[in-house]
């Protein structure tokens, strides 16, 4: 798909305008032709076709059904679509509503109202198939066209999943059928294109796959020729009886539609097959059995369908059946069990024979194999009934029943690692995957039920190992209080920030409703609840969005402190939005593109930038970009920037950055003591641990110093500890003034005085000498030499042995290490300058005491 983007495509209308509206100056068309310049192929997409539309993420294009095509007044080609959404597009928390496993190919009929259904026709990538299924139905087994075929079972309206209404179901089916007809008939228009490019393509493919062995090449060419010849035959047949209902129509459509992608896909598939073959380097026999097993299981895998295809062949089953048929077609030349001539026969017959042969072969072969593999087959078929594992099974069939592999993987499954590399290999090569999980599903699931939910490899993040013992629950009142007072304990509501909360909420809400972008700058000293408030706002908004009061939005958070480099911000944002991992420069480009071009299905994004000042770079391009995006017309980006300083925009930002930031500012004032008091008491609600006065003392003390709520909580926590220690024997367990004062003293006391008092005699003498020298010189700086003289004199006065210079230097550096003194680099020896790190009065006070 990436290569597709690089090749140039031109879009032109197909046919004449169906109708035109004079007033609006729009004209509608029934189809669009996409011409790829490089491969000279043309694709015709008609109304009602299913298409892929370019999305945020190049690997995950949107799925949609084309409803309308028109050219508007400005001669832009527009398309109206009905969206389908992939599982990835559904919010994580909603996915569990499904209560079943979803294969990558399953999509949901999208009924979310917020999405823009009017898109530019140029974003259409190609046509695909979307097959409606009933809820209980198994996914048909496809090895073919993985990227091109999707299934729809349920619809999604943003809140819950619903079964497709019969109406839409039949409509979708209709579309599928119609599509066959149209393409078929359209072939008359462009007959020259039909077969030649295909042949060319297949040839190309064969040539490109030079590496594989000759045999494979042979098989491949035979395979492709047989296909095309078959197609020809079928075509003639078609012309004869014009039977639209038979699945051949579909088959033909697939084979004949001269899309480049088709060819490419064929190539992929061929390569895939070759790979498969290479994997099974083993003797031909095993590979053959592999195929066969695969085949049988494919048939057995959908037991309800076999009778359908054999007997009734109702219209409703066409889709699934033809899919399966294509499967069998593809497999048959490979397994070499059939003559190609057989293909001329009736389809049903062939199906029957195939299934019979499939049934018989493993039976005949199984004695040759280990009995184990046979058992696995049986188990597999029995397990198939369980709907949950259907997806896994499907993958499993591809992997074949290589008994050794299954054994090894079983072993792997047994050792329980949080994220074993095994899982990674599985996901990276899904074809050879999942063997173990459903190999004996009943057994493994029973053994370790937690393993039933395999983690996706994307978020293969490591985990801190679990603790063996459960964490103890708080036993006493004090412990309970301490738990609540921990900063991490998020309260249900944030007291004292109601006003700010409301402001931010209103800001974001209005922007969300308007679908526009905007910036807001929030400042305040540390510990005033900026981040907490913003998170609370987001939480409320998310709740509102869930309740459908607001349009849904995406929420991205970055923290300047958690980035190693300002440019990493791009990477993180992009990863949040699309899950891609790219370099910073590339991410910047992608994001700029994302926010500057109108995206059809994009939700508003709310971006929180914490610690904004750390995103500062010399050219300020990170900040510039961040604040420039919301001003773009289509960005739908709301930025909440958080930083400590109020005048940050004026101080460090260039004018052009500051002006883009706008004037929506808000500053969080430090908490007053009343507010702090309220915060503590709200946290301690229901726990009788603190005396009123004690709380008040703490809050007053903290409010006077910084207004930092974190500090306040920490003091309270420490006070509970002290209290606990003090009252280990006695029963009364409330924190009183004494404890609080002790905690405060512990946190705020200056360590210097204590340090000086505990210093050795000569260290104290040295400090005295420093003071004396300062007083003499009148300058708050002296060299060691000068101090040395004073020191010698002082020690003589005290009647002590005067120290040598080396000893003085040792003392000096010790004091310097404690930062009682500030020293120069020590290589200056005697001429090293010394300064006091605290006021002279403090030193005097500390020395006088004794």
């Amino acid at each position: 798909m990436n290569t597709r983007q690089q090749s140039k495509l031109t879009y032109s209308w197909y046919g004449k305008p169906l109708s035109s509206d004079r007033k609006l100056r729009t004209s509608q068309y029934k189809g669009i032709l996409i011409t790829s310049e490089r491969s000279k192929t043309k694709t015709c997409i008609q109304l009602g076709d299913f298409i892929l539309v370019e999305g945020l993420n190049a690997d995950q294009p949107y799925v949609a059904q084309l409803m309308d095509l028109y050219e508007d007044g400005a001669q832009d080609k527009r398309a109206v679509v009905q969206w389908f959404c992939r599982l990835e597009e559904i919010p994580q928390n909603k996915r569990k509503l499904l209560k079943r496993e979803i294969s990558a190919q399953e999509v949901f009929y999208d009924q979310v109202l917020g999405y823009d259904t009017d898109i530019a026709a140029e974003t259409i990538i190609k046509s695909i198939m979307v097959l409606p299924l009933h809820l209980g139905e198994e996914l048909p087994i496809t090895t073919l066209n993985k990227e091109q075929t999707f299934y729809v079972r349920q619809s999604w309206d943003g809140k819950c999943f619903k079964i497709l209404s019969p109406d839409t179901f039949s409509k979708l089916k209709e579309a599928n059928k119609r599509r066959g007809v149209i393409t078929n008939s359209s072939k008359a228009f462009i007959p020259s294109d039909v077969l030649t490019p295909l042949k060319k393509e297949t040839k190309n493919v064969v040539q490109s796959a030079t590496k594989p062995k000759n045999i494979d090449m042979e098989i491949e060419s035979r395979h492709s020729t047989s296909k095309s010849s078959l197609a020809k035959e079928r075509h003639s047949q078609r012309v004869a009886n014009n039977d639209i209902k038979t699945p051949t129509a579909r088959k033909k459509l697939e084979l004949n539609s001269p899309t480049r992608s088709k060819g490419r896909l064929l190539g992929c598939e061929v390569l895939g097959l070759l790979d498969d073959d290479c994997d099974a380097v083993a003797p031909l026999e095993t590979s053959a059995t592999k195929r066969k097993v695969k085949f049988t299981s494919g048939i057995l895998g959908s037991p309800p369908k076999i009778p359908c295809s054999n007997k009734s062949k109702s219209a409703s089953e066409t889709a699934g059946e033809c899919q399966r048929f294509s499967d069998t077609l593809r497999l048959s030349p490979y397994t070499k069990v059939k003559d190609f001539s057989e293909k001329d026969k009736n389809l049903h017959e062939k199906d029957d024979i195939l299934s019979l042969a499939g049934d018989q072969k493993p039976r005949s072969q199984s004695p040759v194999l280990t009995p184990r593999s046979r058992r696995t087959c049986v188990q597999k078929t029995s397990a198939l009934i369980a709907e949950q594992i259907s997806m896994l099974d499907q993958e499993d069939f591809l992997s074949g029943s290589d008994s050794s592999y299954s054994a090894s993987s079983e072993e792997e499954e047994d050792d329980d690692l949080p994220c074993t590399p095994e899982k990674k290999t599985k996901s990276s090569t899904p074809k050879s995957s999942r063997k173990s999980t459903d190999h004996t599903p009943a057994k493994t699931l029973k053994k370790t039920p937690s393993q039933g939910t395999p983690r996706t490899p994307r978020n293969a993040t490591p985990e801190i190992p679990r603790r063996i013992q459960a964490a103890q629950e708080p036993a006493s009142v004090l412990e309970e209080a301490r738990l609540r007072l921990h900063v991490s304990a998020v309260p249900e509501s944030l007291p004292c920030r109601e006003e700010e909360f409301q402001d931010i909420y209103n800001f974001v809400e209005s922007k969300l409703i308007d679908g526009t972008g905007g910036c807001m700058y929030i400042s305040g000293v540390p510990g005033t609840g900026k981040t907490a408030t913003v998170h609370e706002v987001i939480r409320c908004l998310q709740q509102a969005a869930e309740n459908d009061e607001l349009p849904p939005f995406q929420f991205v958070e970055i923290n300047g402190m958690k980035l190693t480099d300002p440019h990493q911000a791009y990477v993180q944002i992009l990863e949040f939005l699309t899950g891609q991992k790219v370099t910073a420069a590339h991410a910047a480009v992608l994001l700029a593109k994302l926010f500057s071009t109108p995206g059809p299905k994009r939700n508003t994004t709310v971006l929180i930038v914490d610690e904004l000042d750390l995103l500062w770079t010399r050219k300020q391009n990170v900040m510039y970009n961040l604040f420039d995006w919301p001003t773009q017309k289509h960005s739908k980006l709301i930025i909440l920037a958080i930083a400590n300083t109020m005048d940050l925009p004026e101080r460090i930002m260039m004018n052009r950055v500051a002006s883009r930031l706008g004037l929506t500012r808000m500053s969080f004032q430090p908490y007053t003591y009343k507010q702090l008091q309220q915060i503590i008491s709200s946290r301690l609600k229901g726990v009788k641990a603190f005396e009123e006065d004690a709380v008040q003392l703490v809050s007053r003390k903290v409010a006077a110093l910084s207004g930092d709520a974190r500090r306040c909580l920490d003091i309270c926590r420490r006070a509970t500890e002290i209290c606990e220690l003090a009252t280990q024997k006695r029963t009364p367990e409330t924190v009183r003034m004494v404890h609080v004062t002790e905690a405060i003293d512990e946190m705020f006391s200056s360590p210097y005085v204590n340090a000086i008092r505990n210093a050795s005699l000569h260290e104290q003498l040295f400090l005295k000498a420093v003071l004396a020298e300062f007083r003499r010189a009148g300058v708050e700086e002296a060299t060691v030499q000068q101090i040395y003289h004073h020191h010698v004199a002082l020690s003589r006065m005290e009647g002590l042995q005067s120290p040598t210079v080396s000893e003085i230097m040792a003392i000096c550096s010790r004091l310097g290490a404690c930062r009682l003194l500030l020293l120069e680099a020590s290589n200056k020896y005697l001429h090293m300058r010394v300064r006091l790190n605290l006021s002279q009065d403090d030193v005097m006070y500390a020395l006088k005491e004794e």
Binding site: I464, R466, R467, L614, S760, H762, T804, V805, A817, H831
Partner: protein
């Protein structure tokens, strides 16, 4: 203090509470010892050890930047086997990875982690204090329970923290001081020297311990210890002293004596620079003396070689000038004239023998010994003779050294002792 720390760590492990604390104390006050002791106690507690307390130990001297520190944390937490063959690309990736890892845990289920940051003050100097911010942030939010313990000797460590980092720190500081007095010091001394009960040779142990007991009551030993105690309360210096004394113990000299201790103490307290002066030649000493005089004349202003040289030759010129005045004594080697004259003659003697380049060489030797230090880096342009220098010796040191200098010409001694009054 110990109990405080123990409680703190116990809560982290048992309740899954996150905390942060700093242990502050001067060098040699037993910060690491305290922590190790507490950790040992902690591991002995069954409840805690079952919880598999992991503790990455980082030292600011080893993990010189956040990138290295992060790698080390990852290694010590044994997360890299989880990552498998994935190679860590960038620092950013690494950080995101670790944060993600720590974020996944929660209070009740994850195993608590104890981060020990030795030389905490060096972590403070890392760019943006990213590591500290993140560690403290984790400890302040409902993620994997984490206790961050920093060890530092800087009393002003809190002022070094950036404001938002500081706000996230819990402000638990445990101060360790050497607050014992001399009696305790003697006790420590005894304990350090005594042989343990499980010493194989019991009779010798008995004898040795008796000797130690004697020593501790001996006056001279007490003096030595008192002296050391007055200088520093750092127990490591005591260990060093005992080590020096203990190394004197041999088969023939099995017991420690007071003299040994005195000798060790003398060794410990000797002045290194003065010792260097002992090994200098007479010419170099003359140069140093000339510098000392210059220092006195100009009150510690820097000087250059030319000044020193000129100072000598000036003195020599003066000498020639003065030569005529007093009663001239023609003797060439043994000056017997009055004081200044003797000096001058000595000068004459030395200057006659030494050419300027030789003096220069001697000067450079002093430079290499770092007895003299250039004020600025020697540049190509400035001539070496005119580089400004400073003498790194105190006059008292020079005098002390001269006293001990073997075979020092008396005139040199006298010249050194003589102030400039006569000049």
């Amino acid at each position: 203090q110990r109990r405080h720390l123990l409680e703190l760590l116990k809560r982290t492990t048992v309740h899954g509470e996150s905390n942060s604390a700093l242990i502050i104390g001067p060098r040699g006050s037993g910060k690491t010892a305290l922590l190790n002791h507490v950790l040992k106690d902690l591991r002995e507690m069954k409840q805690v050890s079952e919880n598999l307390l992991e503790n990455p130990f980082l030292s600011g001297l080893l993990q010189t930047n956040d990138k290295v520190a992060l790698k080390e944390i990852t290694r010590q937490l044994q997360l890299e086997n989880v990552v498998g063959d994935k190679v860590f690309g960038s620092f950013a990736e690494n950080l995101a990875f670790l944060l993600e890892a720590l974020k996944r845990g929660n209070r009740t289920s994850s195993c608590p982690i104890l981060f020990v940051l030795d030389e905490f003050d060096l972590f403070v100097h890392h760019k943006n204090q990213t590591l500290l911010y993140n560690l403290f942030d984790i400890s302040q939010s409902a993620q994997t329970p984490v206790t961050v313990i920093g060890l530092t000797c800087r009393q002003d460590i809190l002022e070094l923290l950036e404001k938002r980092v500081k706000s996230r720190f819990s402000h638990r500081q445990i101060y360790l001081m050497n607050s014992f007095d001399f009696k305790q010091y003697i006790k420590i001394f005894k304990k350090q020297l005594s042989l343990p009960a499980e010493f194989p040779d019991e009779s010798f142990a008995q004898k040795w311990n008796n000797n130690v007991q004697h020593l501790s009551e001996d006056k001279t030993v007490q003096d030595v210890l008192q002296n050391l105690f007055q200088h520093t309360k750092d127990l490591r210096s005591l260990h060093l002293l005992l080590m020096l004394a203990g190394s004197a113990v041999t088969v023939h000299h099995p017991l420690l004596t007071a003299a040994d201790l005195q000798e060790a103490s003398r060794q410990r307290s000797t002045d290194s620079k003065a010792n260097i002066v002992h090994g200098l030649s007479v010419l170099e000493i003359c140069l140093i003396i000339a510098m000392k005089h210059l220092n006195e004349v100009y009150d510690g202003e820097p000087f250059n070689f030319q000044m020193v040289y000129n100072g000598e030759s000036n003195a020599w010129a003066l000498q020639t000038f003065h030569l005529s005045l007093p009663s001239y004594c023609p003797c060439s080697f043994l000056p017997i004239a009055p004081e200044f004259q003797k000096f001058i003659q000595r000068k004459a003697h030395s200057m006659y023998n030494f050419e300027k380049p030789v003096v220069m060489k001697a000067f450079e030797h002093l430079l290499q010994l770092e007895l003299v230090k250039p004020l600025e880096r020697p540049s190509v342009r400035a001539q070496r003779e005119y580089l400004l220098m400073k003498l790194l010796l105190d006059s008292s040191q020079i005098m002390d050294a001269l006293q001990l200098y073997p075979n020092c010409p008396t005139d040199v001694k006298q010249w050194a002792a003589s102030s400039l009054s006569w000049l």
